[in-house]
């Protein structure tokens, strides 16, 4: 099984004049836990909603586990989705939700669903309107997992949760991914969420994909160079500067290109995932803005 779980080519979504996602080309290998990161409003939700077929693209194509998103019942069965704010039917019980899952999904795993509810210490007869945000998120995750999808997509599942519920959710997600070989894509604007569970990262900033790749490849392919003050042009050739910062005597660069640097005036260090992602995110913020925006 080597065909990508998500393949996008020139994928673009516009709302009138506003561009939510711009010319996105991606190929995500199967069996990965993919973190989709970026600041609020970067287009993460748009990309995920395109992947589950809640939205249709303005231009370009997207293929998920080999099919067009939401193109039919069979395609829907392959993809599990936990929407932002994890909506549930407030006046229906947990058991009703599980029955909805059982009656609409061909591969539904009722035993897993019931076990998870029991583990969470929840009463199946309880209406979900009376649950906390964290518990509702767990119900939504349970429904998506019990569907036994080939790809599980979660859109900011923990954004609205307090730190405790957030941690519990991430732990149960990690437990699930460790146990099953399902591919997972989840979005977050909190970079520290990633390191615990992800082995693949997509950084999305201002409607564009900045970088995408496996965590190991990315960390191996970047380094931090520190040395006496200099400009980026003075660095050895073949390095692409992601981020630079300068003090009066010292310069620090995060560069792409894992080749050893033979300049004795520079010290090379590895970059961890969080620093790397932040470097890409800040690059977008400091990069020159379009003129119309500057003259406002």
């Amino acid at each position: 099984m080597t065909s990508p779980v998500l393949r996008a080519e020139g994928l673009t979504k516009r709302y009138g004049q506003r561009v939510a996602l711009s010319d996105c080309t991606l190929s995500v290998p199967p069996g990965r836990v993919v973190g989709l990161v970026g600041p609020n409003g970067a287009g993460k939700t748009t990309l995920l909603q395109l992947a589950v077929g809640m939205l249709s693209p303005t231009a370009g194509t997207i293929e998920v586990v080999g099919g067009r998103p939401a193109s039919g019942a069979a395609q829907l069965a392959k993809v599990g989705f936990v929407a932002q704010d994890t909506p549930t039917y407030a006046n229906l019980s947990i058991a009703d939700h599980l029955r909805l899952g059982a009656r609409t999904n061909p591969r539904w795993d009722q035993r897993t669903a019931e076990e998870r509810i029991a583990q969470l210490g929840l009463d199946p007869g309880q209406k979900t309107g009376r649950l906390s945000g964290g518990q509702r998120a767990q119900i939504a995750l349970t429904m998506a997992i019990a569907k036994r999808p080939e790809l599980l997509i979660l859109d900011e599942p923990v954004a609205a949760l307090d730190p405790m519920a957030r941690r519990e959710f991430m732990v149960s997600l990690a437990a699930y991914t460790a146990e099953h070989r399902t591919s997972v894509i989840f979005s977050s604007h909190v970079v520290s969420d990633l390191e615990r569970v992800c082995d693949y990262v997509i950084v999305l900033v201002a409607s564009r994909v900045r970088i995408a790749g496996g965590v190991d490849e990315l960390t191996a392919g970047h380094q931090r160079l520190t040395g006496t003050r200099r400009t980026a042009a003075d660095l050895p050739a073949g390095l692409q500067v992601v981020e630079e910062s300068h003090t009066s005597r010292q310069s620090t660069f995060v560069v792409r290109g894992g080749v050893p640097v033979e300049d004795p005036t520079l010290t090379a260090e590895p970059v961890d995932l969080e620093a790397l992602v932040l470097a890409y995110m800040s690059q977008a913020v400091t990069s020159p803005r379009p003129e119309w925006e500057a003259t406002r």
């Binding site: 909506p87 039917y89 229906l92 009703d96 899952g101 569907k147």
Partner: protein
């Protein structure tokens, strides 16, 4: 999906059943009164106008009279309630709460999800309105035949199968508004406005064209005038008696030349110095006036009912088709 739709709709359905049952009991309790009062009319063999009139007055003064008017109101209000409380929130509430994102990511396409909702709640709407109309139509049968007015606009929409058409239309209108507006309260208001406009426009402009109206110009019968009024300047409005057991669309008095008659009257016969209505009638009788009436006789009742119900069901089908197209564009 049908199961889940039923699970969501169950409480509303039970409320509707309870209300229907309560209303049914009210009809049962008063049905005996009508039967008792009608005995005289049933026994009457000739010259029954006075007996019939008496029956109607007695019914009006009894509890059955109150229930009669309540039933009229209920049959016009029920489709509105169905549209506002079953139709408008059906999709709008899901869009508002975001639960459509949960529902649409089970292994059921949006189209099937919508089809289940429209089919189940639509069928319930038709059944509720149909049942309501059947019990009222049977209950009021004797009053309607005595009054000869079931084809007149107000009663017409509260009898037969028309309420089914209104209810199904109101329901799908509500669903459509909810999908377009995406918020429950404004969708409810839009549904109510749309329902009132559609149902009111039928008797006002459309219904009379659904079956050929009778057009007659008999000599004006001065003994059965519905109304006559003389103004200061001598102009006059004369309206001949309406056709019995029919819906009168227009009723004018015309001269032998074919123009609408408005006088002026001869002050020697009519008006303050004319010497009484008899002299005035006698004078009017010399003018050769005719009555021009356009009306739908009671015999057209079912023809009109089928066509009108068909129109509302066709409108509902069009709206439903639009919903199936639009749901693919929703996010």
């Amino acid at each position: 999906m049908i199961w889940f739709t039923w699970r969501q709709f169950r409480t509303s359905a039970l409320i509707a059943v309870a209300v229907l049952a309560a209303f049914g009991i009210l009809l049962l309790l008063t049905a005996g009164t009508i039967t008792d009062l009608y005995a005289e009319v049933a026994a009457c063999s000739s010259d029954c106008d006075a007996v019939t009139e008496n029956f109607l007055i007695q019914v009006r003064d009894s509890a059955a009279g109150t229930v009669y008017h309540l039933a009229l109101a209920v049959l016009y209000v029920a489709p509105a309630l169905i549209g506002v409380f079953w139709g408008a929130p059906l999709i709008a509430r899901e869009l508002e709460a975001g639960t459509h994102r949960l529902a649409w990511n089970q292994s059921v396409t949006r189209t099937r999800w919508l089809a289940a909702k429209l089919a189940l709640v639509g069928a319930a709407s038709a059944a509720a309105a149909g049942l309501l109309s059947v019990i009222v139509t049977i209950w009021a049968e004797r009053i309607d035949s005595a009054a000869g007015d079931r084809i007149t606009p107000l009663v017409y929409g509260a009898r037969g199968i028309a309420p089914v058409g209104y209810a199904v239309f109101a329901f799908v209108l509500g669903v459509t508004c909810g999908m377009l507006v995406r918020r429950t309260m404004p969708a409810m208001a839009a549904t109510l406005a749309g329902y009132i406009a559609a149902v009111a426009s039928m008797p006002l402009w459309i219904r009379t064209h659904l079956a050929p109206a009778r057009h007659e110009t008999p000599a004006l019968d001065l003994d059965s005038l519905a109304m006559m009024g003389i103004r200061q300047d001598g102009s006059v409005d004369v309206r001949g008696g309406d056709v019995a057991n029919a819906w009168t669309v227009s009723n004018q008095t015309i001269t032998p030349g074919g123009e609408v008659f408005h006088g002026p009257v001869d002050p020697n016969f009519c008006g303050p110095g004319g010497g009484g209505p008899e002299r005035c009638h006698a004078w009017l009788g010399t003018l050769g006036l005719r009555q021009e009436v356009v009306y739908h006789p009671d015999s057209q009742f079912w023809t009109l009912q089928w066509i009108e119900t068909g129109i509302f069901l066709a409108l509902a089908a069009l709206l439903a088709g639009f919903c199936f197209w639009w749901i693919r564009r929703l996010a």
